[in-house]
């Protein structure tokens, strides 16, 4: 830290030296992701506590369609690959590739979301509602908040794509893409955790 000798001329770190060697925006995103870990951690803890409190309503065995959710999980994970390719493209100044992969990532995320909406609708019709049991409530709140995070990510990706068409995002904006990518990968990683804990651990 004592190696810093240059005086930053700007408040904003537009390319200037920062003490940490990482831009303010990227450091903020990592910090925020640290906070998000506790956000999901608190919900996952609640879910694990209420795993078997079904109030005589549907249990995990009764209600979850594991092949269906596995497919939508696969789609979400593939969207992370799309995100990597989008970032790679813009770093190689390949704007066309960037647009293709950003759109692909956003669409894959949207498919995951529609799968979740279908799943929620199906559950409610089957009598597995928010107020059914502590188990159902913690399921809906956990996966629902994850869905909101995916929605935010999809919106950001669509905005990136639309801006790049109009020249608002150019090959100079690799860091903006990287930040959206950090967020997107985090949301995916959380889903891996949620999918494992909710769908793959056998309880009932």
């Amino acid at each position: 830290m004592s190696a810093v000798t240059e005086t930053p001329a700007h408040v904003e770190d537009d390319g200037h030296t920062t003490n940490f060697g990482m831009s303010n925006e990227k450091l903020a995103m990592w910090t925020f992701i640290g906070s998000e870990c506790l956000f999901f951690g608190a919900m996952i803890a609640t879910y694990l506590l209420y795993l078997n409190r079904t109030n005589g309503g549907p249990t995990a065995f009764d209600i979850f369609d594991i092949p269906f959710t596995s497919a939508s999980t696969f789609i979400l994970l593939m969207s992370s690959l799309g995100m990597v390719l989008a970032l790679d493209a813009i770093q190689k100044k390949d704007m066309r590739g960037f647009q293709t992969w950003t759109l692909t990532t956003a669409v894959l995320g949207a498919i995951f979301l529609s799968g979740q909406i279908y799943e929620f609708t199906f559950f409610v019709e089957e009598g597995f509602k928010l107020e059914t049991s502590p188990f159902s409530a913690s399921f809906f709140v956990l996966t629902g908040f994850h869905g909101i995070h995916v929605t935010v990510g999809v919106v950001m990706l669509f905005i990136l794509w639309a801006l790049s068409l109009k020249g608002g995002i150019t090959e100079k904006n690799t860091e903006t893409v990287e930040l959206v990518g950090l967020y997107w990968h985090f949301v995916d990683i959380v889903w891996i955790l949620i999918f494992t804990l909710i769908y793959l651990i056998p309880v009932g």
């Binding site: 830290m1 810093v4 005086t7 001329a9 003490n19 450091l27 903020a28 506790l38 608190a42 928010l130």
Partner: protein, 657 residues
């Protein structure tokens, strides 16, 4: 949406979306649109002191009701609302934001930065906090204020205080639901503000220090703020989830905490205190930082054991996560959990004790000047020690089981939060007031304020130890004659009035002192770099970013190093104070604006203020059903996300050509 069409890089068009970019630097508009950390800090401080008056009036009502047996000033229902709001106000709208006021104002100055890392996010934190406070207090216009105490334990928070004989009539459930929605949604909104500032402060400290300002040269206040930012970062999401769950429970019948439907009320206690105990350190650590700045200045000695104070602060930050269940010794967690949390609670007294001995060591042998900030700082050291010691008695589980929910606990946490945090924060107000406003506060009135507050504080809270040990429970709206509690309750009531008088003296002091002569850059012969620049500092803080070569940088610029036996010698000044308002040893403040000096500062923006309006609008939607609910949620969402988009497309600073 017109902003999308513009290329942000051309910078020629000033109109962005619906608003033209504000340019005011004075007047009310400049305050509403400011992104300057100093103005934001001042607004936090003023807002917190206004809420302090509200919370104080609530406290006086509580004490008036309890001054004698069978009090009839407040009904049981009113009492529940008043004491709940007293707690919420003092925690979330007085002590936390007063800490935030100092962090905002001082942190960039102390590390030699021009502003925080994200000036507009800083502004949005302030406005969201204001929105949260107004939102919670708007509950008086609806079905009443939250009434389940600030801890809002289930199932009381779900069904209300008396589900069978509730005096409010048949729609008691709806009334209670409305009140607890104000609690859950209001604190949720306040939490957003805290989370945003925590990210901001962490990035500022890690990225924006002046050349030579290594971490271990940072002033202790900055260090404690840094620890607090991490505590906020990890505590806020936990209470956020708990509040969401409470919201889903009260509004949408999701049985999270309802034992009749399989929910576990103890889960709320765990989530609340897993946030709530770090919250205690969030409130006290800024005050610890403040007095660690003040004691060396008025003892004319460097801080004794700087590293020990810093590392004990970090240790408190870590250990603060491992003690939460000492609030729950009567919840039936079992002997192993109780013993473990009892031991961890004894452990956390160690780093706190280290700090206290270091403060004593700082004063030991110093040339002490008993100024008002120094008196308040010594007040913190002594009063907090009393509160800390009664806290250690709570780590002994059988003893705590006796004292749980009695006035002994009330006495304990007021000794640490009032005697600790608030004394430290008032010390800070007296100490940095000349920096922020250019003139000193009156010392005589300041000392009167301190004396009255110290006496009033001890009259109010010391007898609560006796009341608690005599079995008087917390949160009861009245008590019978002949319990042996009458005398001390009367004393407590008098003490509360003395505290109120002391605050009036403080307000008088601010008014009386408004025409005091200019204080100059460094009125206290201080040690850290915020005193290098003029009082008040220019918008850009420093004309020239200082290069730091020592802890106590300013001290070493002022005084030549000599051998230990001799008194330090003041270095002759290079320039006069008249020619250089920045002080002879420091920044050559020219009085020119940032633009004239070629320093790029972020421009004001309307979006932080507009964004904050969206959140309470959406929150009101949760209270209703059908079209009104959807409508309010949609309007709130459009305001919030619309301003986010406008914000994202607006550059932090317009380019000047």
């Amino acid at each position: 949406m017109t902003a999308i069409a513009e290329s942000p890089s051309t910078g020629t068009a000033r109109r962005r979306g619906f608003f033209s970019r504000p340019t005011e630097t004075t007047g009310w508009k400049s305050w509403l649109t400011t992104v300057d950390h100093k103005k934001i800090g001042i607004m936090y401080g003023v807002g917190a002191l206004l809420f302090f008056v509200v919370g104080g009036v609530e406290a006086l009502l509580i004490r008036a009701q309890l001054a004698g047996p069978e009090g009839e000033i407040l009904s049981a229902d009113a009492y529940n609302q008043i004491f709940t709001m007293h707690g919420l106000t003092m925690v979330f709208f007085v002590v936390m934001p007063l800490g935030a006021a100092f962090i905002n104002y001082l942190l960039p100055l102390q590390i030699g930065a021009r502003d925080v890392a994200f000036p507009r996010i800083n502004a949005v934190s302030l406005w969201i906090w204001v929105a949260a406070g107004l939102f919670i207090y708007s509950s008086v216009l609806f079905d009443g204020m939250p009434n389940s105490s600030w801890v809002a334990y289930a199932p009381q928070s779900i069904v209300g205080p008396d589900p069978n004989g509730y005096t409010l009539g048949a729609d008691a459930a709806a009334i209670h639901q409305s009140r607890m929605l104000f609690y859950s949604l209001g604190l949720q909104i306040a939490g957003v503000a805290s989370l945003a500032s925590s990210v901001n402060f962490i990035v500022t400290v890690l990225n924006m220090r002046a050349p030579g300002m290594t971490l271990m040269r940072m002033p202790v206040f900055t260090w404690m703020s840094f620890v607090v930012a991490f505590l906020l970062l990890f505590a806020m999401p936990i209470i956020g989830i708990a509040l969401w769950q409470l919201m889903f429970q009260t509004r949408f019948a999701a049985p999270f905490y309802d034992p009749l439907n399989g929910g576990d009320p103890v889960l709320w206690q765990h989530m609340f205190w897993l946030f709530g105990h770090p919250e205690v350190y969030i409130m006290i650590l800024p005050a610890f930082g403040i007095i660690s700045e003040i004691l060396p200045v008025f003892s004319r000695k460097p801080l004794f054991g700087y590293s020990a104070i810093v590392f004990s602060g970090i240790a408190i930050g870590f250990m603060g996560w491992g003690v939460w269940a000492h609030h729950m010794f009567t919840a039936g967690l079992g002997p192993v959990a109780d013993a473990a949390f009892g031991i961890s609670t004894m452990f956390i007294a160690v780093p706190t004790g280290i700090k206290i001995f270091n403060w004593l060591g700082t004063m030991w042998g110093g040339q002490i000047r008993f100024t008002t900030p120094m008196l308040f700082s010594i007040g913190l050291v002594s009063m907090f020690t009393i509160g800390g010691l009664s806290g250690v008695t709570h780590s002994i589980v059988p003893s705590d089981t006796q004292q749980h929910d009695t006035y002994y606990v009330v006495a304990h946490f007021h000794y640490v939060l009032f005697g600790g945090a608030l004394f430290g924060l008032f010390a800070g107000i007296y100490f940095w007031f000349p920096k922020a406003f250019g003139h000193l506060l009156n010392e005589k009135l300041g000392k009167l304020h301190f004396a009255l507050m110290l006496i009033g504080f001890n009259l109010t809270f010391a007898p609560m130890h006796f009341l608690g040990l005599n079995g008087m429970p917390r949160r009861y709206y009245t008590y019978a004659d002949g319990m042996g509690w009458n005398f001390w309750n009367a004393v407590v009531g008098i003490g509360a009035l003395v505290i109120a008088v002391s605050f009036i003296v403080f307000v008088l002091n601010i008014i009386v002192s408004r025409n005091n002569p200019p204080a100059g850059a460094d009125p206290w012969d201080a040690r850290s770099v915020e005193w290098l620049t003029s009082s008040p500092p220019p918008v850009h803080n420093f004309d020239q970013i200082p290069t730091i070569s020592d802890r106590d940088e300013l001290w070493y610029r002022k005084y030549a190093s000599t051998s230990d036996k001799e008194a330090p010698v003041r270095v002759p000044a290079g320039a006069s104070d008249v020619a250089n308002p920045g002080g002879p040893y420091g920044d050559k403040v020219s009085g020119k604006s940032a633009k004239e000096l070629g320093i790029h500062m972020p421009d004001p923006s309307w979006f932080p203020l507009i964004l904050s309006i969206g959140l309470p609008v959406a929150a009101y939607g949760v209270f209703y059903e059908g079209a009104l609910m959807i409508g309010l949620l949609a309007v709130g969402g459009i305001i919030t996300f619309g301003s986010m988009i406008g914000w994202a497309l607006e550059p932090s600073a317009e380019e000047h050509h």
